[in-house]
């Protein structure tokens, strides 16, 4: 089934065997409530790693039924992250979520060479899935948060992550637009040149399961009318499922515009580790956190 609205993920997950979410240092009400919502909805099993007394106190205050959740008692954030990662490596959990600890410490546990979750050569990257009210389908894009200036090799990896997320959402052959200033190949503009290279690699079958085109201006990627005015033809134009952004500034600005100026639902995960990792911030809406958990659960299959 192709997911066309984010809440369709819930329907799919309810039909499947539940995946085990491991929340690292889950000692704040935001994290506990998000996990609890997902558990109550019947889309995951929840494991909270953190100080047991604090977790139980919050559960009591917020009328959360502790018995539905598994609590693993650890008394500080660094150890909680290490324990959560260890549980994933021991197959006691299926995917990871960040609790109250800093992003930095969370990432360090994932990236740890001996005990972490990375395969050699892999790159961690942030993938967002948005459902803008003004677009006819979901948009999957990156990287808006982790890699500031991806080089060619990293862009190839990020492109593959975007495609993989699309594939897991049931989009068999997603259309990927590679964002650059314009559709003209400008050999001296790095984003433009690298887009041309990646697009040729896809033509040669070196990037699979997708239709890739670039360089393209953002207007051409998401607006069929713009492509028509310019007289351009291509399957991706105005109908992209995925967007690879030239760099973090471009991606992050798009992300924030989509959140703040366009009515959009959205969610995100970190790709590149052996399991999907949820990295929500406290500013995210309840709904968005739930979607992010659902997305990670979808990707954990």
């Amino acid at each position: 089934m192709e997911i066309r609205k984010l809440d369709q993920m819930f329907e799919v997950l309810k039909q499947r065997e539940k995946k085990r979410l491991v929340a690292a240092w889950a000692v704040d009400e935001h994290t506990i409530l998000a996990v609890n919502d997902a558990v109550n909805m019947g889309i995951v099993e929840g494991i909270l790693v953190g100080d047991k007394k604090t977790i139980e106190t919050i559960c009591a205050q917020k009328r959360v039924d502790c018995k539905k959740l598994t609590i693993v008692d650890v008394d500080n954030d660094v150890e909680a992250a290490a324990k959560a990662v260890e549980m994933i490596n021991n197959k006691e959990g299926d995917f990871l979520m960040k609790g109250l600890l800093s992003t930095d410490r969370y990432m360090r546990a994932i990236l740890n060479k001996e005990k972490g979750l990375m395969n050699p050569g892999a790159v961690l990257s942030h993938v967002t899935v948005a459902e803008p009210s003004t677009y006819h389908k979901l948009i999957i894009f990156g990287d808006v948060a982790i890699i500031p200036e991806p080089d060619l090799a990293q862009k190839i990896q990020i492109t593959n992550y975007l495609i993989r997320v699309a594939n897991f959402l049931g989009i068999e052959r997603p259309k990927v637009g590679l964002q650059a200033p314009s559709e003209q190949v400008l050999p001296k503009v790095r984003s433009s040149a690298e887009a041309a290279i990646i697009s040729k690699m896809a033509e040669r079958g070196q990037i699979k399961n997708a239709i890739v085109d670039g360089p393209l201006g953002l207007d051409l990627i998401i607006d069929a009318e713009s492509a028509k005015i310019k007289g351009m033809k291509g399957e991706v134009l105005g109908d992209a499922d995925c967007i690879l952004f030239a760099n973090i500034e471009a991606g992050n600005t798009f992300y924030k515009t989509v959140v703040k100026l366009v009515k959009s639902e959205l969610c995100a995960i970190v790709m590149g580790a052996r399991v999907p990792c949820v990295l929500t911030s406290r500013g995210d809406s309840e709904r968005s956190k739930l979607y992010s958990i659902a997305l990670a659960a979808m990707m954990a299959y």
Binding site: V185, A195, R204, Q206
Partner: protein
């Protein structure tokens, strides 16, 4: 076109004599080719060099002196300067190298004030090969001038070769960008340049041709290899033009072919305002004759 002789036929059909200025026209090969083209009526030679020596060579070929123009300058550098000047001032249509050294000759062609290369233009080399085992002429570049072409030089090579193909009557030549494999790989930087060139053609930034690369020579020139390998490419084993990643590869390719497979070639300097014929002294009279014919066609275009 399958054979270089067809270029000669085309040159004859132009119905005019192209004026060719030959710098230091004192070797038998060059004079032999010039005499043949003159007798066949498609060139008017201006022979610059030692008058006495030139006249002896012409006599040996049985060409009446009245059909040529001889300018008596004995010193090679001065003879070259005068030949370049004549082409630059429109007194001749084509420049050809005789017995003068290539370095000395090209120095005059490249001279900023009085040479034949427009400012910022890339000088390159393209030649058309007649190969017994290929079904048509094959244009290749660059076998002689650019050792390791960068991106903009590769772009220039493509455009020059396409122009040559158009002159030969190939409307939409198929350009193959040659590498060892069809894969785009950061470890082989030439393949990255090729990806850019392909995408530029997609976007209409390179016109008048079908272009694909990286491709190996098999995928470029052998339909069976394309079928076996299953690599979809619009070139489809039917290339008109091969662009090589560097001079060593291109040079070894054509010399290997000439030596082991046989064949003929006709090449020209590219990028100059008027055609420039530079053949090494060891090249056969036949090759020089074809070059002259090709230069006549190209002179029509410039």
């Amino acid at each position: 076109m399958k054979r270089l002789i067809e270029i000669v036929e085309k040159a004859k059909s132009l119905g005019r004599r192209t004026r060719i200025a030959v710098a230091l026209a004192e070797d038998a090969n060059t004079i032999g080719a010039i005499c043949r083209a003159t007798k066949e009526g498609f060139i008017h030679p201006v022979l610059i060099g030692d008058k006495h020596r030139i006249e002896c060579l012409l006599e040996a070929q049985g060409l009446p002196l009245s059909e040529t123009e001889i300018i008596d300058i004995k010193e090679p550098a001065q003879a070259t300067k005068e030949a370049v000047r004549m082409v630059r001032d429109g007194e001749a249509d084509v420049l050809m190298k005789g017995l003068v050294g290539t370095d000395q000759f090209l120095r005059e062609v490249l001279n900023k004030e009085r040479g034949l290369l427009p400012p910022k233009a890339v000088m390159s080399y393209a030649c058309a090969l007649e190969l017994p085992k290929y079904h048509k002429l094959l244009i290749i570049s660059d076998t002689a001038v650019l050792p390791t072409p960068d991106f903009s030089q590769k772009l220039a090579m493509v455009n020059y070769s396409v122009k040559m193909a158009h002159t030969l009557g190939i409307e939409k030549p198929k350009v193959a960008l040659i590498s060892a494999t069809e894969k785009v790989s950061p470890g082989m930087p030439n393949t990255l340049d090729y990806a850019l060139l392909c995408k530029m053609a997609d976007r209409g930034q390179i016109k008048g041709c079908t272009i694909d690369g990286p491709l190996d020579v098999f995928l470029a020139c052998d339909k069976e290899a394309v079928a076996t390998k299953g690599v979809p490419t619009p070139i489809d084993g039917d290339a008109d033009i091969l662009i090589f990643p560097n001079l060593e590869t291109a040079n070894a390719f054509y010399k290997g072919l000439m030596l082991f497979g046989g064949g003929e070639l006709a090449g020209l300097i590219q990028g100059t305002t008027k055609p420039v014929v530079v053949m090494s002294r060891s090249e056969s009279e036949n090759s020089k004759y074809y070059c002259i014919a090709l230069s006549c066609l190209m002179a029509e275009e410039t």
